[in-house]
């Protein structure tokens, strides 16, 4: 271990006190947020307030939809037959110190036919990106945020292909899940407008095709941060002609309490919250994309909170992100709701959808995988009489770090 434990002993105590204080402080603020949630649910002008704030473009929060903001919905019965397709991705990031200039994306998918008695299937798609076009952007090495963005697009495209294949072949409803937020989020990451536009276009095209095949598409966000609903509640506490104060406020509402903390107290076992539309800037391309075949609905990202635990004492609240064409379809919402709760009951004491856990297992890249890829690449270069050289920093890193020895019989 290279951390100086003695030196941080006092810091640990201070950190422990600070964390405990914050938890205590937050727990005192949650009842106030719950009171405001109930108060907001009775306000006639809540929608108008949210519209005014959203129009200002300085306010980022959750806009109410047709459902009462304080409403809770019990878990519907699981449909006896359905197909769940879950996709996740991982990557080997480019390393400027390495002699091998490349990155790698690995997309893993898991397909389970609920109620069929059949063994599920897994699919893996691995892409090694090493061409100039892939690894150089304006003459510089591709950045980590850009690789993340490309991986997110690859995940959505992979999910679309599998959903189309399965959706057309199956008479049963199809649930298409992505691990994490559903939308691309690019703010202040130094990615060029041309590249961003190109990736948004591919992402939106994939979502267009998913909308055509009628799959229940959702992004599943475990341990969600953020407080879009609390931003709405904070806004609701102001008169309609004094909203500027709320919109321009710099401090987070309710002392930085998260939506998750509030809904953990509000949602019973298996229940979901009302559906909200997010007004964040990253949602704009999705809001603007209309689907002619779906009565001019859009991909605008909506959210709801869901308690996937069926044990009253240990709620597990997650955020589910969906496009508008799902948010306005009660049957698809019920299918998603029931499937996500049901999928989260297979592992004792850990509430997380089984299909997503398995997709993650198929996608994950281990350290030894990276070693294999780099050995293969090195051999390929040696065949061409090119000896790859690591940077001096990387060479020394390798020789000064303690190595683990594997115990063997």
């Amino acid at each position: 271990m290279s951390i100086n434990i003695q030196a941080i002993t006092h810091q640990i105590q201070d950190a422990g006190n600070a964390i405990a204080d914050r938890i205590t402080q937050h727990s005192k603020l949650i009842p106030a947020a719950l009171i405001q949630l109930n108060a907001a649910s009775a306000m006639q002008d809540l929608h108008a307030k949210a519209e005014i704030a959203a129009a200002s473009r300085e306010w980022s929060g959750a806009k109410p939809t047709g459902e009462n903001v304080a409403a809770t919905f019990p878990c519907p019965a699981q449909t006896p037959r359905a197909t769940v397709i879950a996709v996740d991705g991982s990557q080997i990031y480019p390393d400027k110190h390495s002699a091998l200039q490349y990155y790698l994306l690995n997309i893993g998918a898991f397909i389970i036919q609920i109620g069929s008695g059949e063994a599920p299937t897994v699919v893996r798609n691995t892409v090694l990106a090493a061409s100039n076009e892939d690894v150089l952007v304006d003459g510089r090495m591709v950045t980590v945020p850009l690789v993340n963005l490309r991986r997110t697009v690859a995940e959505m495209e992979g999910l679309t292909e599998l959903s189309l294949d399965t959706g057309t072949a199956s008479p049963h409803p199809v649930v298409s899940l992505i691990d994490g937020p559903i939308a691309l989020r690019t703010q202040g990451e130094g990615i060029s407008a041309r590249e961003t536009g190109y990736l948004y276009n591919r992402h939106l095209k994939a979502m267009d095709r998913l909308a055509d095949c009628d799959c229940a598409l959702a992004g599943y966000v475990d341990q969600p941060g953020g407080s879009p609903v609390l931003n709405l509640l904070w806004l609701s506490s102001f008169e309609i002609d004094a909203l500027d104060v709320a919109i321009e406020a710099k401090e987070p509402p309710f002392g930085g309490v998260s939506d998750r903390a509030v809904f953990q107290k509000h949602l019973g076992p298996g229940e979901r919250s009302a559906i909200f539309q997010t007004t964040s800037g990253w949602n704009e391309p999705y809001r603007k994309r209309t689907l002619q075949e779906r009565a001019n609905q859009t991909h605008s990202i909506h959210i709801f909170y869901l308690n996937v635990s069926l044990v009253a004492e240990t709620p597990v609240v997650v955020r589910v992100e969906i496009p508008e064409w799902i948010a306005t379809n009660p049957e698809q919402i019920a299918l998603l709701h029931a499937t996500l709760v049901s999928q989260s009951q297979y592992t004792a004491g850990v509430h997380y959808p089984y299909a997503l856990a398995r997709a993650d297992g198929e996608a994950v890249i281990q350290t030894q995988d990276r070693t294999v890829v780099e050995n293969m690449l090195t051999r390929e270069l040696l065949k061409k009489n090119i000896v790859p050289h690591k940077s001096a920093k990387l060479k020394l890193k390798g020789s000064t770090r303690p190595k683990r020895r594997k115990k063997r019989r």
Binding site: I112, Q113, I114, S116, G117, A119, P120, T347, A348, R408
Partner: protein, 195 residues
């Protein structure tokens, strides 16, 4: 016909080797089976017998086990997952061309070498005398007595007179284990039940 490959080598020594394979099917390797693996650039084969099969678990399996009501699809999924199934083999001899010798091979097999089940003729050649039993009795981490019975059962099937082979094996064991009457008695009773 080329032999059916049943797995690939994970790690090895002169005395034993371990290979990985998919979930065992009824026709796949079982305890006491004779297997072979190429050594010395494929000019020879090490021959051994399977003495242990380990199905590894992981955290996901443990969490599923804690659940009372696991759907059949999940059980099917866990059974087909690419979990490492480790099969340990005790080396008993080696083969160069058609010549089979009892004893330890000159070199261990290399990682990722393909493992195949032995042909009857190869098993018959290796077990034509009973010197291979000494290697089984010298193995420190194999279930020696059970393995002896299973190996002799396999070997007997490769010889024309099965019953005679088992009787002769019993006589050899009596010499080898003369001072350990209790264990000898248990093994001989098991062999007798095979006649």
């Amino acid at each position: 016909m080329s032999p059916i490959q049943i797995g690939q080598l994970l790690h090895s020594s002169i005395q034993s080797f371990t290979f990985g394979c998919a979930i065992p099917k009824p026709e796949m390797p079982h305890f006491g089976a004779f297997v072979k693996v190429p050594i010395q650039n494929g000019t020879a084969h090490a021959i051994g017998t399977i003495y242990n099969i380990v199905l590894e678990d992981d955290d996901l399996v443990r969490q599923i086990v804690g659940n009372q009501d696991t759907p059949i699809e999940i059980i099917q999924d866990q059974r087909q997952r690419q979990m490492p199934i480790e099969v340990s083999v005790l080396t008993l001899g080696y083969m160069q061309g058609t010549k089979v010798r009892t004893g330890l091979p000159p070199q261990p097999p290399l990682t990722l070498s393909h493992i195949a089940l032995c042909e009857h003729t190869e098993i018959a050649a290796l077990t034509s005398d009973f010197n291979f039993l000494r290697l089984i009795f010298q193995a420190s981490d194999a279930p020696t007595d059970e393995l002896t019975v299973r190996v002799l059962e396999q070997a007997a099937q490769a010889h024309p007179n099965r019953a005679q082979y088992l009787r002769t094996a019993g006589q050899y064991l009596a010499q080898l284990m003369g001072n350990d009457f209790q264990r000898l008695d248990t093994i001989l009773r098991r062999l007798e039940s095979l006649l």
